[in-house]
Amino acid sequence: MKSIRLATAVVAAGLLAVCATAAAVGSTKKAVTISVASLIPGSTPAAIQQFNEQVAEFERAHPSIKVKPVEYQWTGPTFAAKLAAGTLPTVFEVPFTDARTLGDNGQLADLTAGAKALPYVSKYNKAVLAEGTDSKGRIVALPKGAYAQALHYNRKLFAQAGLNPNKPPRTWAQVEADALAITQKTGKPGYVEMAKDDNTAGWILTTLVYTLGGRMEQGIGTRAKATVDNKQTISALNLLHHMRWVDNSMGANFDYGWSDINQAFAAGNIGMYISGSDVYTNLVQASKIDPSIYGLAALPLAKNKKAGVLGGGTLVAVKPTVSAAEKAAALKWIDFFYEEPLISKAQAVRNAKTLVANKQPVGVPALPLFNKKQYDLANSWIKPYINVPIAQMKPFLTDIFAQPLIPEPEASTQSVYHALDAVVEAVLTNRNADIQGMLKQANSVAQQAISSGS
């Protein structure tokens, strides 16, 4: 009995092996399949629809490439997990802050050859392209979008508080005064700041400090010096302390993260807050904001030579473990989906039409990836399709190009932000927080992170 069973097993295994080989041999077609990052999970069906339409268009133009959309959202822990496991989509997005380190660690594909073959590669804004270049000079990621921090404000609450919605505050003193007015007349918090422990608190504090002329680091790489306990940081924290405890214009919740604060704003519960200039897309896609309440202004800058606006952005990269054919296909997708709409009128118009048809925002203010001329040109192409309240964003668009754009702290960015999270939270939740002491400690923690290259 046993021997018969054994024999059957061997034969079955043999048959399976033969079939598998046959299948493998039979599938030597020229089609290349790549997976690409699509939308953040939980996006509206309409948004998903428009993405799929763009995929279909690409596949029509490139019949030998099949594109598989994969929902994707960059969050620290899940990105690290996928990176370590190798389960990132072929084409994925990373923030400016991480690209260089990832490239140096060999975790992004080297795109230099393919990128240099693109006709517009020399037209990129040098600073933006540099964010995607590793320390050996290899291009490891191409720019997707750049943003500057901006002040988002609720026009309806402004009006209710007796303020002019077309004249948002231009100095920090005015921000304070307007916040107080909103709180007193409408009961809603006039100014809210991100204060969650996931590095967003430190990110916004750094933004504030930049507008006052301070810097969080000096130098680059592991030899950089942490300077988070500078004069301007103390001023910024004192400003927050005043608004929180004296004016009481910051509401009762101090653990907002990036998505929570968007949600609260869209629900009409916040007067003003700071975030990237491009969050309107998220406000529409995730929170269905009523467009009439939205106002966008540039951040107030102090009268300091070093005052500027924190800029950031997203890059798009390719997995390092791909074949040459996949890398070529990935570059074609990046070119089609991310870059072409900014350079080719036909593509820009097609893109805009698809977005509009699916009720997605077109015309959200972004920063130039190329030069200003190209930027204006691209905007003129999509002008007829703009469906965001662009007039309400005029204060931002008028002022932003005169403001110096400052990149985020270069060394161990996320760790530096993390060191500052606790300080911001302490100021907002403890009336007697020891600002100087906590900043000193945050500085030593930040310095440790910088020196160890994490």
Binding site: F79, A80, L102, A252, N253, Q414, N430, S454
Partner: protein, 319 residues
């Protein structure tokens, strides 16, 4: 531990085969060795791969610097030193001890009192048990998120509204460094006390009724019966639940993670959260050496604590 000798006494093995044959592989297989191995296999494979191997790896990794790009390098006790010198570590230890202490104060005597009362209910005791246990079956994530809504700091938050009826508050709950940890303990107690109640109830049924009768005959009142009969009889269970609770709360993760992410200003940072931050908090890859070092330190502490505890209570639990 009594349990070990217990296991050895009961249940003898199946009788060995009569003939003492030479142990060749074939005779081993025929003598039941192969089938025993087949039955042991799932357990051995699963435990080997997912329990024993990782335990060994924790020790190894705590002495290495691991990033998943290059090969790991040996760094001796550097990880332990880094953890000890991290300014957040003493904060995490203090907070964890605070949580464990508060949880013990709230979550230990109250279920006992409730169980004693419940065990004397004449009718419909099932209702009591069901109501007490209901919060325990709610998925913990749902419980935390629900209480997070309750804890809204504005004057129209649920708890603040209720307290407002009696002219109290509004309180900041999770938005204050003083109130955050007690708020976490309150929810944790709500979600877990029911389990403890049921355990105590079950143990109370094991109390010998004759002891109560004897005490009554001796003229003991109700309080004295509880003090002299109930509690001593429950000693074993009480001691076990206490140590289990301490070990459990020392590893608390869900509440600080979902309620406050360790904030505000590290007021709810616990050791588990610190380990999570080391290993999974950095988008560029974690510091697994420090994470495993801290895990070992926590496990070591719990081991020592348990031994001390068992030794100290040995004289109390045996009769």
């Amino acid at each position: 531990m009594d349990a070990i000798s217990d296991i050895e006494v009961k249940g003898a093995a199946l009788p060995a085969p009569r003939h003492r044959v030479r142990r060749t592989p074939l005779s081993w297989a025929r003598g039941g060795g192969l089938s025993a191995l087949v039955f042991m296999a799932p357990m051995l494979i699963v435990f080997g791969a997912f329990s024993w191997y990782p335990i060994v790896r924790t020790v190894v990794m705590s002495l290495q610097h691991t990033n998943l790009v290059q090969a790991p390098t040996w760094v001796g006790l550097d990880n332990f030193s880094a953890v000890i010198h991290d300014p957040q570590t003493p904060i995490a230890v203090k907070n964890t001890a605070y949580f464990a202490l508060l949880a013990l104060v709230f979550g230990y005597p109250i279920p006992l009192a409730a169980a004693v009362l419940m065990s004397e209910v004449r009718r419909a005791r099932g209702w009591f048990s069901a109501l007490a246990y209901l919060p325990v079956v709610i998925p913990p994530v749902v419980a935390v998120l629900l209480w997070k809504v309750f804890y809204d700091g504005s004057s129209v938050g649920v708890f603040n509204t209720i307290l407002g009826w009696v002219h109290l508050g509004p309180y900041p709950w999770l938005q204050s460094q003083q109130w955050a940890m007690p708020s976490l303990v309150l929810e944790s107690t709500w979600a877990n006390a029911g389990g403890t109640v049921i355990i105590y109830l079950a143990a109370l049924t094991g109390v010998n009724a004759e002891l109560y009768e004897a005490a009554s005959v001796d003229g003991a009142g109700l309080w004295q019966k509880v003090w002299r009969v109930t509690l001593p009889q429950l000693r074993g269970v009480l001691l076990v639940t206490m140590i289990l609770q301490i070990i459990g709360t020392a590893q608390v993760f869900l509440e600080p993670f979902l309620f406050t992410s360790g904030g505000p200003a590290n007021a709810t940072l616990t050791v588990m959260l610190q380990i999570y931050d080391y290993a999974f908090g950095n988008s560029l890859g974690g510091d697994y050496g420090r994470a495993t070092a801290l895990s070992l330190m926590l496990a070591g502490f719990l081991a020592v604590f348990s031994l001390v505890y068992l030794r100290a209570t040995r004289s109390w639990s045996t009769e």
